[in-house]
Symmetry: C2
DNA sequence: GATACTAGTTTCCAAATGTATACCGATATA
DNA sequence: TATATCGGTATACATTTGGAAACTAGTATC
């Protein structure tokens, strides 16, 4: 078992924080993770799929305001990142089922962490002034 | 000590995933956390401040491509969320120092988690095909 | 023949976001 | 007097994002 590399607060590794240096590069994976979860619909779609396989129209009906264009786009992104799987059945009319992959389910602990921090933040900030 | 509430995968709590139900509401804190870290510059600015107090122009010089307008906007957001503090000194010309608050530093473990997942994702997906 | 169902795509448009550039007042330096 | 410094702001523009609506093919139903 290797120790988790600390990417911030390590002054021995990044004492002067040079602009184009190693430290900025270390942020790329963080950005990746953020990008994957970012957007108005991503989380809701992922959440919907955690409760089982879903068909296209079914997801559309579940999430109010979601348009087919956006759903199509978001599902493609999930597919590209191997977080969701697309299964086509040649019924009439055609049936398409989406499901989270095992890999997609590894997002869960991360979402939990975001939830934990976000919930505290709601209590601290939003609860008292914002909006 | 109370047990952390599970927001997904709990079929007893959210068996049918009704559209406007409690489950969607549970995603709001997650969105909050994502929003705070989102953007091209936020992480870089936070990272910069983890290495100590910084002045406006200093941050600008450190992060290539960053414009004063964006930096100003991002710093204001950090301030509003009480993640960063703005200190004005009446020197000539005026000196303004920004620093992470203790609360701002609580983001660190979250960023670590994002980094952990993102690094694995890089190896799995980006390393072999994307971009 | 008109309508509805499936899973999307296409087109157009509005709003949000981000960038480039110039500028501000006050002061110190060359 | 010209220039540079500080911490920003103002304006104009380009790019990105997202939404509304109509439309596709193939078949089944009314």
């Amino acid at each position: 078992m290797e120790t988790q590399e600390s990417i911030i607060h390590d002054k021995r590794k990044c004492p002067t924080h040079l602009s184009a240096g190693e430290c900025t590069k270390a942020l790329l994976p963080v950005q990746d993770a953020l990008d994957i979860l970012h957007g108005k619909w991503k989380l809701q779609i992922i959440l919907s799929l955690t409760f089982g396989k879903k068909r296209f129209k079914q997801i559309l009906r579940e999430i109010p305001g979601l348009t087919p264009k956006m759903l199509s786009k978001e599902l493609k992104e999930l597919e590209i990142n191997e977080l969701a799987l697309r299964n086509v059945f040649d019924t009439l009319p055609v049936t398409v089922e989406y499901e989270l992959t095992a890999y997609g389910k590894t997002l869960q602990p991360l979402i939990q962490e975001l939830h934990k921090w976000g919930a505290k933040h709601r209590k601290k900030i939003i609860g008292r002034s914002k909006k």
